[in-house]
């Protein structure tokens, strides 16, 4: 092999490897850019009013998004109540009971459901809950988010239950525990850290969802009138404010974006923290 050829190969090697590093660096920079920009712009506009006041009418400056924050929490509560139990139980089924063929179908369907675009989930919740009663409602928004929570919970629950060594199940059964007692008293507690993490991540993910809420929970510039009425939420507020022509609304959109991002990132970090701790035991 001739000398220049080796030089050339070494040069290619150096250039390409550098490029991969630059790419990775660039992607990480995007994260910091997002964070930095949001903190800069959002931090400017964030004040106490944002958390305590209702939105002001169009044209007036000031006001806050207290109703949207509470609305988002309410929607999450609904989603958790509807999605988490189904996801948890189905995950238990797959890990502890499932037969071969049926489990395969359930897993496949779960993945399918997980891949359905959120806007389509919104249409579904609309057809299911909004159409029959002819008006938007917090409940419909909760249903949409709840459906999205299910597949994420199922897969993480199953994964962490499978991580529990079989010897634990055998030990409990050999002591005379029935199967479900084994699951409830030994397997679930052993996997609880991971399962909780999965649930938290599922909720964090739907907390930022906008598309399925547009025509289910809709939006509301006032405090909601109850579960059967339209309700405000942070992501939808960000959307409406961002595409509006008013500078003051833009500022508030930044503030809301910062709050939402912090909410999501903190729950992600929290979830990882729980997982790390539960592994350390």
């Amino acid at each position: 092999m001739s000398e220049p050829r080796i030089m050339w190969r070494k040069a290619v090697n150096a250039v390409m490897l550098t490029l991969t590093g630059v790419a990775a660096f660039g992607v990480v920079c995007v994260l910091f850019l997002i964070l930095g920009y949001l903190i800069f712009n959002g931090g400017h506009s964030l004040n106490l009013n944002f958390f305590t006041q209702l939105p002001k009418p169009v044209g007036e400056t000031g006001g806050g998004m207290a109703n949207a924050i509470v609305g988002s929490l309410k929607l999450l509560l609904l989603a958790a109540l509807m999605g988490l139990p189904v996801g948890l139980l189905a995950g238990i089924y797959l890990a502890e009971f499932g037969g071969k063929t049926f489990s395969f179908i359930v897993r496949y369907t779960t993945d399918l459901l997980n891949g359905v675009p959120s806007i389509v989930i919104g249409i579904f919740a609309y057809a299911l809950v909004v159409l029959p009663v002819k008006h938007f409602s917090a409940l419909a928004g909760g249903v949409a988010l709840g459906i999205m929570v299910i597949p994420i919970t199922v897969r993480s629950t199953e994964e962490f239950l499978r991580g529990v060594p079989n010897s634990m199940r055998e030990a409990a059964m050999a002591l005379g525990a029935s199967k479900w007692k084994t699951i409830v008293t030994v397997v679930l507690p052993a996997a609880s850290g991971g399962i909780l993490t999965g649930m938290l991540l599922a909720l964090a993910r739907v907390a930022g969802e906008t598309a399925p809420l547009l025509f289910t929970a809709f939006g509301n510039r006032y405090w909601g009138q109850g579960w059967g009425q339209p309700i405000a939420s942070l992501p939808v507020m960000i959307y409406t404010y961002a595409i509006s022509p008013y500078d003051d609304w833009h500022r508030q959109a930044w503030a809301a974006g910062l709050v939402l991002l912090m909410l999501v990132l903190l729950s992600n970090l929290g979830a990882r923290f729980i997982l790390a701790r539960s592994k350390a035991v």
Binding site: P165, S167, G176, P189, V281
Partner: protein, 279 residues
């Protein structure tokens, strides 16, 4: 003759009135001994593959019976049929009889059976709970109402672990050493006061000192418990058991008093195994 041992058998036609299952090996068993577990014509299958072949064995009360044999000979599988643990494995099938105090175990409630027939596994498998909760577990799931503290202490004492852990009962069981964990698992099994304790190579993951402790423990437990231990370690069988059964390829080859089996085996295959010629 497809007999389970080379011990000469009486002519079967002499006692035509007796149940053949009981009759077959009467003489291979030590006489004048009450029998806790009686296994008759036991076959076991993993799917289409047979792992235990027509096994007959009697396990005498308050004695230690050791099961030896090369790995893969079906001794662990056999042990696990005695408290129906194999039922937790998909696609398995069992044929034949297992009588606990004369009662067919396959007709018992499986939960009740496992309470009466406890098990200690190859690797220590404490629950991710405190030491105390580990021992109390069996009592709690069996709906025991009463003085848990006392029973936990008693079980830990029986497992010779009390002195070492009495001050740290609330600590995670994972904080214990391997040998302590295994004794904790024994204490956990003893807490529900089983009549029979099945030990599936309980010392294979332990060092010699701890192994000695557990053998000592087995000796003490004989007063209250019938034990069956699977071991790949012949010295352990020779030291710790009263009776020894030798298995090969899923079949019981020979079964007799331990001292006899190790000194004057009747079957050439047994002799080959205990003198280390295979396995």
């Amino acid at each position: 003759m497809d007999s389970v041992s080379g011990v000469p058998q009486p002519a079967l036609s002499v006692k035509p009135f007796r149940d053949p299952v009981h009759m077959e090996k009467t003489t291979t068993q030590p006489t004048e001994q009450s029998i806790r577990l009686e296994i008759a014509d036991l076959n076991f299958f993993y799917g289409p593959k047979q792992a235990v072949f027509g096994l007959n064995l009697k396990i005498p009360t308050h004695k230690v019976t050791a099961l030896i044999g090369p790995s893969g000979c079906g001794k662990s599988t056999f042990l696990r049929t005695l408290n129906r643990m194999n039922e937790t494995i998909r696609n398995t099938r069992v044929e034949g009889k297992v009588l606990l105090d004369g009662q067919e175990i396959h007709q018992m409630d499986v939960v009740g059976l496992r309470r009466r027939v406890g098990m200690v596994f190859q690797r220590p498998n404490p629950f991710p709970k405190s030491i105390y909760e580990n021992v109390a577990y069996g009592l709690r799931v069996n709906g025991f109402k009463g003085r848990l503290d006392e029973l936990v202490e008693k079980s830990l004492r029986r497992a010779a672990l009390w002195e070492e852990v009495k001050d740290v009962l609330k600590r995670s069981a994972f904080a214990l050493s391997g040998g302590q964990q295994q004794r904790l698992c024994i204490a956990r099994a003893l807490a529900v006061d089983p009549e029979v304790l099945l030990l599936d190579e309980p010392c294979s993951a332990l060092d010699p000192v701890t192994t000695a402790k557990i053998e000592e423990l087995m000796f003490q437990l004989k007063d209250s418990c019938t034990m069956a231990i699977v071991t790949h370690n012949m010295q352990q069988a020779a030291r710790a058991s009263d009776f020894t059964a030798f298995m090969l390829d899923g079949k019981l080859i020979e079964h007799s008093v331990t001292s006899k089996l190790f000194t004057t085996p009747t079957d050439p295959r047994t002799e080959a195994y205990i003198t280390g010629r295979f396995g």
